[in-house]
Symmetry: C2
Subunit: 366 residues, 2 copies
């Protein structure tokens, strides 16, 4: 543990907060300093259930966490509809902000949050974990290897899990119109879109189309949907036309596929968002594949590449966030804008998919 | 070798004919009896290059093959634009027809061919090989296992290979408007659509949409494109809403992905059309996956299932075709209509994708 770890206040005791509280504890440069819930009892129970030390401050309101001068940063896993209010308040109180995804209900809402962060010089990062896994960096290395991968041509991402209970599909926080109106698109769809944009080095597509066949619950919240993204050839010679599709659902067996297709290489992941196990994660890479004589087989088979993970990916996320916060605290430097740009682009695509759905799956130009 | 093997006449000496000639030779119930090309020399060279026995009849025209009374069946790997003429003539001459895919330039054209087959009582089958691999049967078994796979929700298929040469992209037979006007959609797109329909037990989708971002060569022939297929919930309780997407391209590294998503199970193949090696092929199956406590990992990992292949899949195809032809010859039974229905449904979806492309990627109802 570092000498002066970043002190986190956790605002809200959602299920996901348990995982991130553990990650903050495992990170070398951060510590859980305070937990706040709408009731003192709930916050207390969260601390006990998650084995947090007795020294952790327990608060019966979110405000108290934000007022505590020793809190450097907040982790905020609140329902999306509450993000604008509490994220802006946190920024105003100079708390660095690790905000659970989806970051907001719409881009204009997110822009309010990001503006508050900018004005108050606080670091912003959303709670996407996979992007911090060392496997992700290894894949980006291969995607950049011109001879091995070539030019990026297409991407497909699927993120699904299954919850058969009527209660989940109608009443879970992720599908309640007043809490998380984006439904599956904001929940696991966030990862699909994020992965696609990540593979393109965060280039916004030229246009976005929702795919036919979305499924909604009785309240009209999305339970399953897909989308198509298109990039046109740029003026730069290496900017190729590219396409991507994704599919996200609360109605299918757990699946977290990402496949990335280049002229010379292909990448496949099957456990993209949450690796099957913590200690290491794999992907498959195929390069320079062609058919053998008479097309009886392939000259190469997809090659499995295993990447060891020293700490869980959410710990890497927390460490990176805490490192940026530490820089700002110590050197007075500006926040790193990369993370807010990433989140904003995902939010823009989500908005476009929703707009396309409203228009009966018409193409939406960005 | 059976005592009275089905005697094949090969009409046209395309590259793919080499593979199928070998398959006819390997099959226990068929033999290459004649080879016909537009020139005697080409046919002769084909026979020599492919080690066919001296007894094989060599013809300098397609007509002579069709006139030979000892030819039971023809394998026809001609350019698609020539299928109507020669397939109908073959049927009229009572030759059973193994027709290379795409079967025709459009459904009305295919219907003429199928009608000629029906009128003449000859067996029809298209040259799709993967569907005859024992792996395919094993997967269908799992797809039907309600507890393990559950209800089918979505499918994604990708079939690409890369040919960087300008000559291929502008002049290869597969991209010449007068020879194979369907381009990549009729070539590897045939497999994508076929796999999707196969997974749905050959149910035609309710509607079809081309995805934005198709790429064409200078002559306007498709080099890369995608599509989305949608099935609505049926009146039967187990007929669920389903969606599928596909992507096919001549501009990306070899990739033959098929993923099938059910409520309880997921199937993944990476070498769906041409298995990496002949002797066996694998796929991955995940059933009943959920996240472990705190969502730190999965309770199960995708399980690799290997299926041994006694003979190459194209040999199984030839054997099945020859078996059906043998039944007709010996018992005078009617041709098996399953194969023509399969091909026709694929052709209908190809037509719908083309129509959608013509309409600027509008949704096309079937």
């Amino acid at each position: 543990m570092d000498e002066n770890p970043i002190r986190f206040g956790i605002i809200g005791c959602a299920q996901i907060a348990r995982k991130v509280a553990r990650a903050i504890g495992l990170a070398h440069n951060s510590t859980v300093y305070a937990v706040g819930s709408r009731s003192f009892e709930k916050a207390k129970k969260f601390a006990l259930d998650n084995g947090l030390p007795d020294s952790v401050k327990i608060y019966g309101s979110y405000e108290e966490v934000l007022e505590d001068p020793y809190v450097d940063a907040v982790y905020m896993p609140l329902p999306t509809s509450l993000h604008v209010k509490w994220a802006i308040l946190a920024a105003t109180k100079k708390k660095h902000l690790l905000l659970e995804k989806p970051t907001a209900l719409s881009t204009p809402e997110l822009d309010q949050i990001l503006e508050a962060c900018r004005q108050n010089g606080v670091q912003f990062m959303d709670g996407t974990m996979w992007i911090h896994h060392p496997r992700t960096a290894k894949i980006k290395e291969l995607l950049s290897a011109t001879k091995l991968f070539g030019k990026l041509k297409s991407i497909h991402s699927t993120c699904t899990f299954y919850n058969e209970t009527h209660d989940f599909l109608e009443n879970n926080i992720r599908v309640k119109p007043d809490l998380d109106a984006l439904g599956v698109l904001g929940d696991v769809g966030w990862y699909c879109i994020g992965a696609i944009l990540w593979a393109t080095n965060n280039q916004l597509p030229k246009n976005v189309t929702a795919l036919p066949g979305p499924i909604r619950n009785e309240a009209g919240v999305l339970l399953a949907c897909g989308g198509s993204l298109t990039w046109l050839a740029g003026e730069e010679k290496d900017e190729e036309e590219k396409v991507a599709t994704f599919y996200c659902s609360f109605l299918s067996n757990v699946c977290m596929d990402l496949s990335i297709h280049g002229t010379h290489g292909t990448i496949h992941l099957k456990d993209h968002i949450i690796p099957c196990k913590e200690s290491s994660a794999s992907f498959e890479f195929t390069s320079g594949a062609h058919f053998t004589d008479l097309h009886l087989g392939w000259n190469v088979e997809p090659k499995k590449i295993e990447v060891v993970s020293q700490v869980p990916q959410e710990t890497t996320m927390v460490q990176e966030f805490a490192r940026l916060v530490g820089n700002i605290k110590i050197t007075g430097s500006s926040p790193d804008d990369t993370w807010s740009q990433n989140s904003r682009n995902i939010q823009i695509v989500i908005d476009a998919i929703n707009k396309s759905l409203d228009l009966g799956c018409k193409n939406v130009d960005l």
